[in-house]
Amino acid sequence: MIELVATAESTIQAKALLAAGVDTLYIGEERFGLRLPNAFTREEIAELTEWAHRHNKQIRVAVNAIMHNDMIKDVIPYLAFLEEIGVDSITVGDPGVIHLLRTKGISLPYQYDAQTLVTSSNQINFWAKRGAIGAVLARELTAVELKEIAAQVTVPVEVLVYGATCIHQSKRNLLKNYFGFVEQAYATEKERGLFISEPKNKDTHYSIYEDLHGTHIFATNDISLMDKLGELAEAGLTQWKLDGIFTKGDDFVSIAKLFVEAKEAITSEKYTEDLYEKLAMQLKTFHPAERGLDEGFYEKDPSEIQ
């Protein structure tokens, strides 16, 4: 059973994504969730949860931030709220939150999501033994590794099939610090569309922005595994994440529809070379023009990476 999980930027887009055939919405507050397209208020989360459940869909809430003491205090009522409105699951990357769920008796299923640190089946099984219902795989895994992991894990694992990859999170305000040094007053939030380029590779485009959690940097190309969906499904990798942090509005919904079409074709065993070529072509027309697309680490040889 393939599950399509998608981020959302607004209630309107969220409903459009569900209508398009997305199974699970991934939303949350900025304070506790990392790198979401937009923050949702608690009222909106409650409303969407009800809406989703009415349509037999699921809500997963991002609680995957690296928590400092003050956040630990404030996350307790948030978790209680999420339990009360009956969200289906949360993501968690900080073991402190897992400890809270246990000691406060909050029953919220959690998917382990510590980003770059989730790289082997033994790790995932460790968290599964401690209550995790699944895990989000690091983006730096190759196809060989993904398949080995899938064969060994005791819970489902999620793979990013479309969207941006975060490759650096600093608590420092790296942009504000730079602009402060050169005495320029530029905004540094996501909407500003800032990016950096490598010294030796000047055409690269690493998106960078600041928020409550510090500075975030993204890979030069976004990921599309449209061509690999059949392979993923065959390996038992059937939780697919679509991340719309840099793909706005209707374009993201249109891209989601392509993945829904692919999912249905695979489920009914009608997925052909021609179809995925067509879908991959269509995807490019909805993908932001200034952002590159590739398959990330998927086709790399694990031994290439030292």
Binding site: N173, S197, K202
Partner: protein
């Protein structure tokens, strides 16, 4: 008079057996080393089991401890053999392992029972509930993320019982440790498996999109300053009272790749400062010579990291670099004859008659003198000690002891930062 009997541990890096012994002689209560597997410093000197045995024996004689860093984030297959590795460490008498990967933690806990586990900073533990989680898992100690402030440490101490270790000196990851794969993406080197290519220290272009398809550079300054994430190093020498009073169990010095000159100097300074504070906390006075000593081995400017607030542009490496005197490690004392005031010295770098040199030793002893005469092994007068590791003799103005070190001021070096005093 108030005395503090529960002193925090001074924990020093040791890339080799020689550095391990040096760190302990110069006051470290514990050292951390790498094994041949599962570590994060694939290019640092790593210890064989035999070297570990010798290191542990030496440490035990000096009432010190040896920890092994096995802080890699494993991929499929990487954890193979880890059970035997941890059992061997335990049987050698290693005092604890420093681990961040939960798979390795589980293997260690189940297959090498009795070997204490410390959570590596690589796991970015930043709150008390995380520490409580790991305590419940049976860990002995948690190394905090470098992003934790002093106020947060105080609260963590109050709300947890597990041991706390924090970094007090050395280079810092720019990201939350473990949450950076710049190196993986830019150099095909896995930052979490010992391959970090330090991409955060590079110089980058910075742009926005003015028009579709057109990049607009935002670099500014005269001369133009590149965008970089690179930051100054950490030093907490001015804040020993805070570190001790907040109940931190272990104070860690970064740098398994650093020289014995560095390791001896930094260990010695923190040993002196912590001893001075604990002996009489109410009349403690900061000694400028401690800081002066640290500058002799500094590679970048120094600041207090996240302890007292999020670092600003003043703690990034932008602009002109400051120049400070550089010191070269030139020799180590092998023997000393009190009657003749003659020292026997093993050469480590070129020095000679007329050079002003400085001797320093454990217990924060140091003095400078000019070399007037030098003799080689056979007692023949020489002008310069040019051959690597040669043994020479010279007359010294104050008593020295075996394992004292000799350094020489050389031309100024540029620190990686503009003129600014960041420490206080």
């Amino acid at each position: 008079m108030r005395i503090i009997t529960k002193k925090p541990e001074v924990l020093a890096p040791a890339g080799t057996l020689e550095k391990l012994k040096t760190a302990i002689r110069y006051g470290a209560d514990a050292v951390y080393i790498g094994g041949n597997a599962y570590g994060l410093r694939s290019r640092a000197g790593n210890f064989t089991y035999d070297e570990m045995r010798e290191g542990v024996a030496f440490a035990n004689e000096h009432h010190a401890k040896v920890y092994v860093a096995a802080n890699m984030v494993t991929h499929e297959g990487d954890a193979k053999g880890a059970g035997e590795f941890f059992r061997t460490l335990r049987d050698i008498g290693i005092h604890a392992v420093i681990v961040s990967d939960p798979a390795l933690i589980e293997i260690c806990a189940t297959e090498a029972e009795g070997l204490p586990i410390h959570l590596s900073t690589q796991a970015s533990a930043t709150n008390y509930e995380t520490l409580n989680f790991w305590k419940a898992e049976g860990l002995e100690r948690v190394v905090l993320g470098r992003e934790v402030s002093m106020a947060e440490i105080k609260e963590i101490r109050e709300k947890t019982e597990v041991e706390i270790e924090t970094f007090i000196h050395g280079a810092m990851c720019i990201s939350y440790s473990g949450r950076c794969t710049l190196s993986n993406h830019m150099s095909n080197r896995d930052a979490n498996r010992g391959g970090c290519s330090q991409s955060c220290r590079w110089k980058y272009g910075l742009f926005d999109m003015d028009l579709p398809d057109e990049r607009h550079s935002l670099l500014a300054g005269d001369p133009e300053e590149a965008f970089s994430m690179s930051a100054v190093d950490l030093s907490m020498i001015h804040h020993i009272p805070d570190l001790v009073e907040n109940g931190i169990d272990s104070l860690k010095i970064e740098g398994r790749m650093k020289s014995i000159h560095y390791v001896s100097t930094v260990s010695s300074v923190y040993r002196a400062a912590i001893d001075a504070y604990c002996a009489d906390p109410d009349h403690y006075e900061f000694q400028q010579e401690w800081e002066d000593e640290l500058w002799k081995v500094a590679q970048r400017d120094l600041a207090t990291g996240f302890y007292y607030g999020t670092p600003t542009e003043d703690e990034q490496l932008f602009g002109d670099k400051r120049k400070i005197p550089a010191y070269t490690f030139v020799g180590q004392v092998l023997a000393y004859d009190e009657a003749t005031q003659m020292a026997t010295i093993q050469q480590r770098n070129n020095f000679g008659v007329g050079d002003e040199i400085e001797f320093y030793g454990p217990g924060f002893r140091h003095f400078t003198q000019t070399i007037e005469n030098l003799w080689d092994e056979k007692g023949v007068p020489i002008e310069r000690a040019k051959s690597a590791m040669m043994t020479i003799q010279m007359k010294v103005e104050q008593p020295v002891k075996p394992f004292d070190m000799m350094r020489k001021k050389k031309a100024e070096k540029k620190l990686e930062m503009e003129v600014k005093q960041q420490l206080a």
